[in-house]
């Protein structure tokens, strides 16, 4: 029996093995085969549970306690160093890209210094205290898929933690102990103490409990939705970084250098940087030592493989990479080290094809590596990135992330000189994405008219495999947004061309680094900005309209979220104003609360490793919390449910204020009665529910967004212009104006669940439309070009992003003709000024069968809202929404 067969046997014994019928159209050529080594890894992933352990938090906490009284940034660095140094090494057999976040292939761990209660058993007193807080409300309405690697129930010796992660029962006593040691000291607890002093505390709590807002960002995911920068490790190596930090320590010791507030902090940051890098070096060298021991063991057959890995790790633990293999391995280690420092989703890879181009180009030219080996490494890399989990609460991981961690890889765009940036390595990255279909890294193409037609067709070929990637982002629109937002911080026309996508589709500021290899000069792009999608996340727009209609009261929870005003709108304009006033109040209250949380985070939990990676922290000696990054105006306000809001406003305007078919009171009564349907049911009526049939029919018949309808589209334009203004009235803790971010991720599920029926005919609890430019499922009846007309009546560059999902039946894009048409469709949207579009190429019948028989669809992937995920790991509300999306069979 081969290893592969044995692997399948044990997976079958665990009930984790699945196979499935093909979902693609029969006439479409099947994707090229995945390389055998990556397939072994992928099959292992399919059998791997999301596993958590306490090794990292144990050593972190123990050392943190030991250094009480130390300067906070240095104390944290010592804790991080100890944690990295003591992680168990595990070089998994057959892997050429080695190491992972923890000893488990798909591992993560709690960070009780951020938040220490959500992962405890429900009987624990700490858990119960936390459950009473507004910030825990999202957990109740968030659902994980019950399949794949999600551990939604305890079994055997495995305890289910936070509804998703499995931990061995031996470690549970340590988990509980760690949580209690951080009680009252975590960022969450300290923030809460201060939040209670706010005059708006009760309203903020009610906004969270009613799920107007989905989550607090300061202690859940304080970093991420940004682009990492690999430049310093790649160019200096870890020893070079330490050398530079030590030189700076000598230079700045005891000097304020004109900055009486932050000047003296620099010394401590440099010292902290050296400590953390030492910890990461030890982590790498522990893996080297394991390889050396295995290479010398007579029982091990593949000793040459371990010897090569040991030599590679030995070198890059200290030095800059010498070749492509080392460069890719080092960039990956830097990535997972970054993710181990904080709870992070969406630490995006950026433009990897351009970052690694100097090594690729020269190694290929010299014959040091061939394209087949690069393709194998890139496929293994895909599996390694797919294994990245983020340990956070059910509301965050299930309700927002759907288990994904958004390690987005950007392709295309322009070089510093304005020419197309596409290179041969980017072609291979796309090819690896075709051959090795995995959710991560998801791919994003920065569409620009200057990109080569052949590359665009290659990317469309990848889309047609049904992988859901690449997504398409409008390079020019993105650059316009960045120049407007970061111009005041010095961004110029050359910088802006380094643009990349962080997280799902968060346009992120980057810069170019000059790099020289063997006498040839290159410009390497890298992230240069603070996290985005921190601030206010997410605002449930239809829920806010519901509160505006009900005098500020949330009927689901019975909470008076906003003060009652007792007024009923007598015109559409008054209703619109009432909505805007409530939304602006919510934004202000939530912004201030989140500013405070992030302030506690930066004071007590400053990022050291993440800081030193990005410009200009190592130059200035200031970490991210002291605005050491080049660009700091990154905080934003995220929205959810745009299409439902716009449709509901159109319906109210037409049915109540223009035709006067109903009074506003009659309509509100119908909405609050769920149009006479039993809550949670799409068919069952309440006794006497028929009396709302007229209202229900009128709401369903009202014009809908996505059909090139002037009334609805003008409402969207009004909304977008208001949202762009209102968000910029909010100020982040860094003193910068905020801006709109219009992606739903997965929040349209739980926030829809918390919202009563809306005037667009959507019933109570039904998931909102995804994204922001997607139509509500089934309501876009005039084809995609009409949808594009509706979506582009406003300036997309006024927002960090917008999000459009389209679902295509495979037959609609079959063959060469289909490729041509899909590229033309994409180009049409980009040319009209749309920022983003992505496709699910899938037959809805396959999705329905997958919902009935998930065990047979372990490898089925779908595009949700900015990311691709395995079907079986997505909660049912989002599955239902993806099934319900309009399926285009012709266009």
């Amino acid at each position: 029996m081969s290893n592969w067969e044995r692997n399948r046997k044990i997976l079958a014994e665990k009930g984790l093995l699945g196979g499935r019928e093909k979902s693609m159209g029969d006439e479409e050529p099947q994707p090229r085969e995945i390389c055998p080594s990556a397939e072994v890894m992928r099959q292992r992933f399919f059998g791997a549970l999301s596993s958590a352990d306490v090794e990292f938090p144990y050593w972190y906490t123990r050392t943190w306690n030991q250094w009480e009284g130390e300067v906070p940034v240095v104390r944290r660095a010592r804790a991080l160093k100890a944690a990295f140094s003591h992680l168990s090494p595990n070089v998994i057999p057959g892997e050429k890209i080695v190491m992972q976040k923890t000893r488990h292939m798909r591992g993560s761990f709690p960070m009780p210094w951020l938040s220490e209660s959500f992962f405890l058993a429900k009987e624990d007193e700490l858990y119960q205290q936390a459950a009473a807080c507004g910030s825990a409300s999202a957990d109740e309405l968030s659902q994980f898929g019950s399949g794949g690697g999600n551990v939604t129930q305890s079994f055997g010796d495995v305890v289910s933690i936070a509804g998703k992660f499995g931990m061995h029962k031996q470690e549970i006593p340590a988990l509980i102990r760690l949580a209690h040691e951080w009680q009252g000291k975590s960022v969450e607890d300290i923030s809460r103490r201060y939040e209670k002093m706010s005059p708006h505390f009760e309203r903020k709590e009610n906004l969270m409990k009613s799920l107007v807002c989905m989550f607090d960002s300061g202690f859940t995911l304080p970093l991420g939705r940004e682009v990492i920068d690999y430049y310093l490790p790649l160019s200096l190596g870890f020893e070079g970084i330490k050398r530079k930090a030590r030189e700076k320590m000598d230079e700045v010791f005891g000097q304020a250098s004109g900055d009486g507030i932050r000047g003296m902090d620099r010394f401590y940051f440099y010292h902290a940087s050296v400590l953390v890098v030492e910890g990461i070096q030890k982590w790498i060298l522990n893996h080297r030592d394991q390889c050396l021991a295995l290479a010398q063991d007579p029982k091990i057959s593949d000793t040459q493989h371990y010897r090569e890995i040991a030599e590679r790790l030995d070198w890059i633990a200290c030095n800059p990479p010498r070749d492509f293999r080392e460069a890719l391995q080092l960039s990956y280690i830097v990535h997972i080290a970054s993710l181990n420092e904080d709870a992070i989703s969406g630490m995006s890879i950026g433009r990897l094809g351009q970052v690694l181009w100097p090594w690729f180009e020269q190694d290929i030219a010299s014959g040091a590596i061939c394209e087949d080996e690069v393709l194998e490494l890139l496929q293994q890399y895909r599996v390694k990135i797919t294994c990245i989990d983020c340990f956070a609460s059910a509301g965050v991981v299930g309700g927002v992330l759907s288990g994904n961690t958004f390690n987005n890889l950007t392709l295309g765009g322009l070089k510093k000189d304005g020419s197309s940036a596409v290179n041969r390595l980017e072609w291979l990255i796309v090819e690896a994405g075709i051959r090795c279909p995995t959710p991560q890294p998801t791919l994003s193409v920065l569409y620009d008219e200057r990109l080569e037609e052949g590359f665009l067709r290659k990317a469309i070929e990848c889309v047609k495999t049904g992988a859901g990637y690449p997504a398409w982002m409008n390079n020019r629109v993105g650059m316009d947004f960045l120049l407007e937002q970061y111009g005041p911080e010095g961004m110029n026309r050359e910088d802006v061309r380094a643009i990349a996508i962080g997280g799902c589709l968060e346009t992120s500021p980057c810069i170019w680094h000059a790099y020289e290899r063997n006498g040839k000069r290159y410009d390497i792009p890298g992230g240069a900005g603070q996290p985005t999608s921190v601030g206010v996340h997410f605002l449930a727009l239809p829920k806010l309209l519901e509160l505006a209609l009900n005098d500020g009261r949330d009927l689901r929870t019975g909470l008076q979220v906003f003060p009652a005003h007792g007024k009923k709108a007598t015109s559409y304009r008054e209703l619109w104003q009432a909505f805007c006033e409530l939304a602006e109040q919510a934004m202000q209250v939530l912004t201030r609360a989140n500013n405070l949380q992030h302030d506690i985070w930066r004071k007590n939990n400053p990022a050291v490793f993440n800081s030193l990676l990005k410009p200009d922290c190592l130059e200035t000696g200031l970490h991210v919390g002291l605005m050491g990054y080049r660009f700091n105006a990154t905080f934003n306000v995220e929205s959810c449910g745009t299409a439902n809001l716009v449709n509901a406003l159109a319906s109210l305007r037409q049915n109540v204020f223009e035709s006067q078919q109903f009074t506003l009171a009659e309509m509100i009564q119908a909405l609050n009665a769920n149009f006479g349907f039993v809550p949670g049911s799409l068919f069952e009526r309440q006794p006497g529910g028929e009396r709302f049939d007229r209202e229900y029919a009128a709401c369903l018949a009202a014009p809908k967004y996505g059909n090139d309808d002037p009334l609805v589209d003008s409402i969207l334009v009004d909304y977008e212009q208001w949202f762009a203004r209102a968000t910029r009235q909010c100020e982040s803790l860094y003193g910068k104006k905020m801006y709109p971010c219009q992606i739903s991720v997965s929040t349209h599920g739980p926030q829809g669940a918390a919202t009563l029926a809306s005037a667009d005919g959507r019933l109570s609890g039904v998931t909102y439309a995804d994204g922001s430019m997607s139509a509500f499922p089934g309501t876009d009846r005039n084809g995609p070009y009409a949808l594009f007309e509706s979506a582009t009546g406003w300036d997309h560059a006024s927002s960090q992003n917008s999000q459009m999902n389209l679902k295509m039946h495979p037959q609609a894009v079959a063959g060469e003709e289909g490729t041509r048409k899909l590229l033309a469709l994409t180009r049409a949207y980009m040319r009209k000024g749309g920022f983003h579009i992505q496709y699910n190429v899938v037959d809805s019948n396959v999705l329905k069968r997958a919902q009935e028989h998930p065990e047979a669809y372990r490898d089925l992937m779908v595009r949700v809202a900015g990311f691709t995920q395995y079907w079986v790991e997505i909660g049912k509300p989002i599955q239902d929404e993806v099934i319900a999306r309009t399926e285009y069979r012709r266009f």
């Binding site: 003591h86 168990s88 595990n90 495995v158 931990m167 295995l294």
Partner: protein
């Protein structure tokens, strides 16, 4: 009972199973180890470790003073590990 997960050759994939580096086979971590077993160092094997009154926890004195630990922690990366009595 000696288990696969206590073996130097065990490469953990998740909380339940791993891969044996000698045979290449996937194995369940809590199953009885084979005759190729090479013990992995744990806190409970260390001279600085002593059991706590609470059965599942222990005390580490390896870094000066006392701090709690659990017996099953991997000790291969611990700079203070000292072999205990058999």
């Amino acid at each position: 009972m000696r288990q696969h997960q206590d073996c130097f050759y065990y490469s953990p994939i998740d909380v339940t199973h791993g891969v044996c580096r000698v045979s290449g086979d996937p194995v369940l971590g809590d199953k009885e180890a084979c005759d190729q077993h090479r013990p992995l160092l744990r806190c409970r094997d260390c001279a600085h470790y002593s059991p706590d009154s609470q059965q599942e926890m222990g005390i580490c004195r390896g870094f000066g003073g006392e701090y709690w630990t659990i017996p099953s922690f991997n000790a291969t990366t611990c700079e203070k590990f000292a072999p205990g009595e058999e």
